[in-house]
């Protein structure tokens, strides 16, 4: 059933008609906000049922048209999804912060899991979320095993000018973000921690603008079980002090087919940063960095020594950016970054970087190659008889180099 919020209005202009519609709705109903502006009650509208909340489109910030839902104060959310929650769908709305109030804890949509309850099958579509002091949308599960935010779909949404992240996800499983825009948010565009998440075809533009210093990047994967960014654009990431487009801090991730342009050829911006910033957190890796296109980026890829098993394949750079990888022990990194510079194709190409370490790998198969930093030798494993490995187990052998010519007398 469709419940039109206008049908619940009374002669009292202060009456919360939307609250009455939400109270009257049953699981599966649609609560419809016709075009116009609505202000949430203090503490936000509480979503305690499986509902679809829809408007007449988000319109544009500061312009008439569409459905605009406003927080009552800078400290309040617009919507609170109350766990346990399933099948909530919020679509075709503009969510905007209030300008009054001194505190700064406001969000557009908040769902916080508890030790006993989370949320599942949450969809957001066609939203414009702007100007909240905290995060635009904040979906935080309780832990990896309890109170999860399970199965999140975010499509065609725009997150603009929020104080922290446009979209903040924590302990969210199976999160899918597609065709979204994250612009001018203070801490970062999308922040995800301990999630399994895929981000497709989205634009990150000029985030991390917090004057006190943004702790995150335009896109942050922190200790994610699995994370993927594909066919995304990162623009204007030389803003503020953080100057990072994509940060992978612990966990496993893949970044590929992305376009990076910091917007400042003389800046110090980083494209993809792979690290483990906190001792004790999960190691970063494996991390896969497939082909990406860079412009105006000083450090295209920066992998620190706490990262294991990183694969880097061909990249393209319009400028003269660098790739920084651990040396000499690269913790299993392999690849050929092929940093190709426009108009000078072959001069900046690389060879194949072999996985290196001070000892030979513990697991070996015939034909496996490694670089032993202690022996300063390329090592190949050969000689294992697959039919009789006990007799002929094989061994690591050094590939011979042509002797250097003797020094001139």
């Amino acid at each position: 059933m469709i419940l039109n919020v206008r049908d619940f209005e009374t002669d009292d202009p202060s009456f919360d008609a939307a609250g009455a519609a939400l109270a009257a709705a049953a699981d599966g109903d649609v609560v419809y906000f016709p075009a116009g502006q609505y202000t949430a009650p203090d503490g936000g509208w509480q979503l305690t049922k499986s509902l679809q909340i829809r408007g007449d489109g988000p319109g544009q910030v500061g312009l008439p048209g569409g459905t605009v839902l406003m927080a009552p104060t800078r400290n309040s959310p617009v919507f609170v999804i109350v766990p346990p929650s399933t099948n909530t769908y919020v679509r075709d709305l503009q969510l905007v912060s209030a300008t009054s109030g001194s505190s700064a804890n406001g969000v557009g949509i908040r769902c916080i899991g508890t030790a006993t309850a989370g949320a599942a099958n949450l969809r957001l579509g066609g939203l414009l979320v702007s100007g909240f002091d905290r995060n635009g949308v904040e979906l935080h599960g309780y832990s990896d095993t309890a109170g999860l935010i399970d199965s999140v779909l975010v499509l065609d949404c725009e997150f603009v000018g929020c104080g922290r992240a446009g979209l903040s996800l924590k302990h969210a499983a199976a999160a899918h973000v597609s065709n979204c825009v994250f612009r001018d948010n203070g801490y970062g565009g999308l922040s995800s921690e301990a999630c399994s998440i895929a981000v497709y075809g989205s634009t990150f533009d000029g985030n991390c603008t917090s004057v006190s210093g943004a702790p995150e990047a335009n896109l942050t994967f922190l200790n994610c079980q699995s994370a993927k960014a594909e066919a995304c654009r990162f623009l204007g990431f030389n803003a503020g002090t953080i100057r990072k487009a994509c940060l992978i801090d612990g966990g496993m991730a893949s970044v590929g087919s992305c376009f990076f342009d910091s917007g400042n050829a003389a800046g110090s911006a980083s494209g993809i940063v792979v690290t483990r910033s906190t001792p004790g957190q999960p190691m970063a890796g494996p991390v896969t960095i497939l082909g990406n296109h860079f412009a105006n980026t000083a450090a295209l890829i920066n992998v620190d020594s706490n990262v294991t098993n990183c694969l880097i394949l061909g990249q393209y750079d319009e400028g003269a950016g660098s790739v920084i990888i651990p040396q000499p022990d690269n913790n299993g990194l392999v690849g050929a970054p092929h940093i190709v510079r426009a108009e000078q194709f072959e001069t900046r190409m690389t060879g194949l970087i072999l996985p290196s370490g001070a000892t030979d790998p513990a697991v070996a198969y015939n034909g496996m190659l490694t670089y032993n930093t202690y022996l300063k030798a390329v090592r190949v494993f050969i000689g294992r008889d697959p039919n009789n490995p006990a007799v002929n187990p094989g061994a690591w052998k050094s590939i011979k180099f042509i002797p250097k010519p003797p020094p001139q007398p």
């Binding site: 075009a35 489109g57 497709y200 066919a231 590929g256 087919s257 394949l313 990249q315 000499p328």
Partner: protein, 401 residues
């Protein structure tokens, strides 16, 4: 606000989408019930605000909503034209069938004007551009001198259009998903100067007419990503262009963020031979990443043809599903300009030994940024390793007599 187009009638008493569009404000939804065929005025219906336009689905025989161009197919249909100098959107068009005009949906965006977001879903767009002298596309999404920030299409079928099913130019970000093309004359998708991701879609028998291009052709795209796509019936070029190869997918000047993988490429059973290519990159492009793809109905075609001087291919094994009828893989020879990977083709019957070893980068010059353990092959055929701050040549065992 929801506007039912039947509530807007013109002087002749016909339901008028033009009047509904004039009345609508940003955010309004315009509903076209399936009770009649809607015929556009010769200049088309102008969309000048961020509205949603929708019908009862694209299937006319099952109660769908049907929009048609005027006259003999030389008129216009849906024209997105923001006010000059404005920022407009989002526009959402869905659940319609569009037919017999020059283009199904086109953009007319002036300099300094922005279309923020265009979403298209569950459309059937066919028989566009058939009128003599008015060739057209199913969806002509060209930013012109203005800006289109993003486009998403979902479950849109473009078929039997004279030129391309979908033509994109200078679109900030385009995602084409779960759609299909069929027998579009010039090709299914052409993308130029855009960031494009095409996935989980199919094309069949496109690019057969005069001026035929290919099923997907991405040119000078910041992002060119084709994944989980089904190419069917890649046809030979029309006789007027016999010197040009036919192809399923082609990348030109798409560098770095260029990916082709997890696709199924089925060649046509009648058109065959080396002038037909599954995936084609001309010379002087790259880097391009190729993940495994599955090729079927092969009869002497090129599965992959990679330009000889294109730097930095990364390639993983491919699969051939046709027993005994081998397709070719054209790879750069030495120097391979940084190619890396395993360019093998797995033949299920193992009749042909198309396995390969692991290809190392073979370069004209030594890499400029060596690190410990880096290995490459020089133009002189010598394998070199960077160790102890220098390149060392690898010694090989002499050949047996």
């Amino acid at each position: 606000m929801l506007l039912n187009v039947l509530d807007f009638t013109d002087d002749s008493g016909q339901a008028s989408l033009a009047l509904a569009l004039e009345t609508a404000r940003d955010g309004d939804r315009i509903y076209l019930p399936s009770s009649q065929v809607y015929v556009a005025p010769p200049t088309g219906w102008l969309i000048t605000r961020g509205v949603e336009i929708f019908g009862d689905g694209p299937d006319f025989n099952a109660g769908g909503t049907f929009l048609k161009g005027s006259g003999g197919g030389d008129g216009r249909l849906l024209v997105i034209r923001p006010s000059p100098g404005s920022t407009m959107g989002p526009v959402y068009i869905h659940d319609l069938r569009l037919e017999h005009a020059q283009h199904g949906i086109e953009c007319d965006i002036a300099e300094g004007t922005t279309l923020k977001s265009l979403r298209l879903a569950r459309l059937v767009v066919w028989h566009m551009g058939e009128a003599p002298g008015y060739p057209g596309c199913g969806l002509l999404l060209d930013a012109g001198d203005g800006t289109i920030e993003r486009i998403a299409t979902f479950a849109c079928l473009t078929q039997l259009n004279k030129q391309y099913g979908i033509k994109l130019r200078n679109v900030g970000q385009a995602e084409l998903m779960a759609g299909g093309g069929g027998t579009n004359g010039v090709g299914y998708v052409w993308g130029g100067g855009s960031c494009v991701r095409v996935c989980v879609s199919y094309a069949q028998g496109d690019a057969f007419d005069t001026g035929a291009d290919g099923q997907i052709h991405l040119d000078s795209c910041g992002i060119a990503h084709v994944e989980a796509f089904h190419f069917e019936d890649i046809r030979a070029k029309a006789p007027v262009f016999p010197w040009e190869p036919a192809f399923g997918c082609r990348f030109d000047q798409c560098r770095g963020a260029a990916f082709f993988g997890s696709n199924y490429v089925s060649f046509d059973s009648t058109d065959s031979g080396p002038s037909i290519i599954g995936f084609y990159v001309p010379a002087a492009d790259g880097p391009v990443t190729l993940f495994p793809n599955d090729f079927g109905n092969i009869n002497g075609e090129y599965l992959l043809r990679l330009g000889g001087e294109a730097p930095g291919y990364s390639i993983l094994p491919q699969y051939s599903g046709t027993v005994g009828l081998r397709g070719e893989v054209a790879m750069p020879s030495t120097p391979n300009y940084g190619l890396l990977g395993i360019p093998s083709v797995r033949d299920p019957a193992a009749e042909i030994n198309a396995r390969s070893g692991f290809a190392l980068p073979a370069l004209l010059d030594a890499p400029m940024n060596p690190v410990e353990g880096m290995i490459y092959c020089g133009l002189d055929g010598v394998l070199r390793v960077w160790t102890e701050n220098g390149w060392r040549s690898v010694s090989v065992t002499p050949s047996s007599p």
